[in-house]
Amino acid sequence: MIRSMAFLPGNTPNMLINGDSFGADALILDLEDAVAPSQKDSARILVRNYLRTHKDHSGTLVVRINSTDTDYWREDLQAVLPERPDCILPTKVDGADMVRLICREMEAIERACGMETGSVGLMPLLETAMGIEQAFAIASASPRVKALVLGGEDLTADLHSKRTKEGMEILYARTRLVCAARAARVEAIDTPFTDVNDMEGLRADAAFAKGLGFGGKLVISPRHIDTVNEVFSPSQEEIDYAREVLHCIAEAKENGLGVVALRGKMIDAPIVARAQQVFDAARTIYGDIF
C-alpha cells in the first residue's frame, strides 16, 4: 500500500541517509530533475550504494530515471537495476512503446545480472498531454507496471495552462489517469502539492485526490508526509462503517438472508467491496491494533 511517495535527491547524502526516517510508504531516489547534469554520475553511485545498504528497507524503494530522450536513462538503469529496487519510475512516458522500450532494456540487464526477469516493477510518470491520452495503453503495456503516477507541473506546461492550487486545469488528467489505472488494475498516484508551507492546502488537495480515487500522492517535502499518510488512511469513521458492513454481511449469510440493509440503506456488492478495501487498508496500516 502506497499512500505517500517522497522524492529524495539522489545527490544529497544527508537526505538519503535520513530518508527512511520520515515515514513515507515509498521513497523515490531521484536521478532526474533534482540532479544537475554535472552530478548525474555521482548521484548514480550514491543511489546504487544506498540500495545496496538498504536491502532490509521495509517500504517501497523506487528510482526515478532520466527520460528516454536523454543520454542518461540507460546508464541509470545499468547502475541501479542490479541492486533490485522495487520499481523504476520513468519520466515523460507518453505511450506503450516507451514502456516496452524501457522494459526491453530492463530485461537485458536483469538477464546479464542473473536476476529473475520482470522482478523490478515500473511506475510510469505521466506528465504530458499525450501521456494522459495514452494512460490505459501505458498501464496495460507490461505486467511490470504497478502504478500510474501523475506529474502535474510538466503537464500544465504541455497543456499551455497555468498550474493553480485549486487544480481545475488538471482535473481531466486526474480523472482520466485514475480511470485508466483502475481499469488496468494498477495503482494511481497523484501529483505532488508544491507549496511546502501550506499544510491546509496540502490536506485539501490530498483529500480531493483521494475522493477521485487516487491511492496515494507524490511528496516533495518530508514535512508533507504525515499529512498525506493521514489523508490516504481510512478514517476511524470509515473503519467503523466497514466493520459494520462486513459484520452485517457475515450475519446475513449465517441466517441465509439474501438482502440486508444497514442504517436504512441496502448493502449491495459495491458497498461490500468498498468495505473490504477499507478493512484491508486499515489492517495494513494499523496491524494488530486494528
Binding site: 535520513n18 526516517s21 518530508p222 514535512r223
Partner: protein, 469 residues
C-alpha cells in the same frame, strides 16, 4: 563617596586586585560580551598574574584572553561552558591549572557554600544608575535576565558594575541592588548587541529536526505528565524549539493549562505564555529580543537567580519542580550517559550549563538529537566525557525512533501503548553504525586539562589534553 570610577582598571585597583585572586563574570551578553576581555586586558596592563576566572560560561568572543592564559595572567578557569576557541584552548592545555566545569546550579551552590570564593565580581550591566542598581532589561545592550550574576553580586568581596547606559538614580526596576555594589564604571560599549540576543528565534525547517521534535512532543503527550499544572523546559536550538511548537499545538488542542516554563527563554516560549499554555515563565536567561521585551512588560514573566533556577543546596529550586525537559547531546552511550562537553575529536566545545541540573530534577528527561551527525553516530559504547549521568535520563529521541532507559519501565510501557516507535538503544546504535560505520577510538593525551564536577560536588569525569593539529 561616589561609586563611579573612571575605568575598569581603576575599579580593579580600587577593589584591591592582586595576584592569585578569583574574578567572576556572567554570560548574559553571550557571544557579544566585551566586558570580560576588557577586564582581562586591564589585568595584563596592571601586571596581575595567577588569576582564576569564574565565568558562568565562555564563548568564542572571549578568545582574545587565550593570550592571557599563555602568559600566566590567567592560570585557572571555573565555568559551566566553554565554546569555540575557548574550549579548544583548555583542551590544548593552555591553562597552568586544570579547568573546573560546574553546572549552572552547582556554581551558585559552591559560591554560597564558600567552595568558590569570588574576590571581585565584574558585572556587565546593560543599564545601571550611579549607585549600581542595575538591570539587563533596558538599554541598547539589553540582554534581559541577569540571573547568573545574582549569586556573584551577593557573595563576592567586591562588586564592579560595568555599564554603557548610566541612568539617573534610582533605577527602580533593578535586578541587582545597590547594596551589593562597590564600584560603577561607564564604558562606550559593553558588547555587540548582535551577539547578545538574536532579533528573532527561528524554528528549524530541517525535516530531520522536525521529525525528532514531533516524536519528543508525542512522548510528552503520552508520558502521563501532560495535564493542568504541567511544567516544562527546553533549549533554544534546532529540534528542541520545534518540539515546543508541536507541544503548543497539543496543549491548545487538549486544553491543557500548564503551570510554568523554565529557561533559557525564547520568543517562542513567550508565545506559549501569551497563548495560555502556561501561567508563567521563570527566566534565568533571555535568548532573543521578544523574550527581553516580555520580561520587561509581562508580570507573568519573572526573572530568577541561578540559585533559584537549579542550586542543589538551595532550600528548593525550580529545576526540581520540572515535569519534562528536552535537552541535546553530542554523544550518548548505551547506559544513557550524555556528553555535551567534547566534540567527536575529544576537544572541549561546550559544557553542561544546566543540562545535568534539570536532568536530575525533572520527572521526564528527554534527549533529542539526530542519530547521525556529520556522518558520525550519536550513540556510542561509552561517551568521551560524562556530562550528565545516564541514571537521570529517561528517553532518547532520534529521527529513527526512541529508546527508553530501562530504569523507567512505566514510561516504556506508556510509549509502547501509544504505538510510538520504541526501540532498544543498542538497536538504534546498530542502525547508525550500519549507515556510518563504527568510529575509530579517540586517542587522548595523558594530562588532565579539566575536571567535570557533578551538581553534588563529586567528580563526574575528567577531560584529557587534546591538541588540534
Amino acid at each position: 563617596m561616589s561609586k563611579l570610577t573612571a575605568s575598569i582598571k581603576d575599579a580593579l585597583v580600587s577593589a584591591g586586585v592582586r595576584d592569585g585572586m578569583t574574578l567572576s563574570f556572567h554570560h548574559h551578553l553571550r557571544n557579544g560580551d566585551a566586558v570580560l576581555v576588557m577586564t582581562v586586558t586591564a589585568l595584563r596592563e596592571l601586571g596581575i598574574r595567577d588569576i582564576t576566572l569564574s565565568a558562568s560560561a565562555l564563548f568564542q568572543v572571549h578568545a582574545p584572553i587565550i593570550a592571557a592564559m599563555e602568559d600566566g595572567t590567567i592560570t585557572g578557569i571555573e565555568t559551566g561552558y566553554a565554546g569555540g576557541d575557548m574550549g579548544a584552548a583548555i583542551s590544548a592545555g593552555k591553562l597552568q591549572r586544570k579547568a573546573v566545569f560546574r553546572s549552572h546550579g552547582h556554581r551558585p551552590a559552591d559560591i554560597e557554600g564558600g567552595k568558590i570564593h569570588i574576590d571581585i565580581a565584574v558585572i556587565a550591566a546593560p543599564t545601571s544608575d550611579p549607585e549600581g542598581n542595575c538591570s539587563g532589561k533596558y538599554g541598547r545592550s539589553a540582554c534581559g535576565s541577569l540571573g547568573y550574576a545574582m549569586p556573584d553580586a551577593q557573595f563576592a568581596d567586591r562588586v564592579i558594575v560595568v555599564t554603557d547606559n548610566l541612568v539617573d538614580y534610582p533605577l527602580v526596576d533593578f535586578s541587582i541592588p545597590e547594596t551589593q555594589v562597590d564600584y560603577v564604571v561607564t564604558v562606550d560599549s559593553i558588547g555587540d548587541p548582535r551577539g547578545i540576543v538574536s532579533s528573532t528565534t527561528r524554528i528549524t525547517r530541517d525535516p530531520v529536526g522536525l521529525r525528532i521534535a514531533k516524536y519528543a512532543a508525542d512522548s510528552i503527550l503520552h508520558s502521563g505528565l501532560l495535564k493542568d499544572g504541567f511544567s516544562f523546559q527546553t533549549g533554544a536550538g534546532g529540534a528542541t524549539l520545534a518540539a515546543a511548537m508541536y507541544l503548543k499545538e497539543i496543549m491548545l488542542k487538549k486544553e491543557v493549562h500548564g503551570s510554568f516554563c523554565m529557561g533559557g527563554i525564547t520568543g517562542y516560549l513567550v508565545d506559549m505564555l501569551e497563548s495560555g499554555c502556561f501561567e508563567s515563565l521563570m527566566d534565568v536567561q533571555c535568548f532573543d529580543l521578544t523574550a527581553v521585551e516580555s520580561l520587561r512588560k509581562n508580570p507573568g514573566h519573572r526573572e530568577v537567580s541561578a540559585t533559584q533556577y537549579a542550586s542543589p543546596t538551595a532550600k528548593s529550586c525550580i529545576a526540581d519542580r520540572l515535569d519534562a525537559v528536552i535537552l541535546g547531546a553530542t554523544e550518548i552511550d548505551t547506559d544513557f550517559n550524555v556528553n555535551v562537553h567534547t566534540d567527536s575529536r575529544g576537544v572541549i566545545m561546550g559544557g553542561s550549563g544546566g543540562h545535568s541540573d534539570v536532568a536530575a530534577g525533572a520527572k521526564l528527561t528527554i534527549i533529542a538529537a539526530p542519530l547521525i551527525r556529520a556522518r558520525l553516530p550519536l550513540i556510542v559504547d561509552r561517551v568521551n566525557c560524562i556530562s550528565t549521568p545516564g541514571s537521570t535520563v529517561d528517553l532518547l529521541v532520534t529521527q529513527y525512533g526512541m529508546a527508553v532507559n530501562p530504569l523507567n519501565r512505566e514510561l516504556e510501557q506508556r510509549l509502547r501503548d501509544a504505538k510510538l516507535p520504541v526501540v532498544d538503544i543498542r538497536e538504534l546504535q546498530a542502525r547508525a553504525e550500519n549507515l556510518s560505520g563504527r568510529p575509530q577510538p579517540l586517542i587522548m593525551g595523558d594530562r588532565v586539562v579539566a575536571d567535570v564536577l557533578y551538581r553534588d560536588g563529586s567528580l563526574l569525569d575528567q577531560i584529557r589534553m587534546k591538541e588540534l593539529l
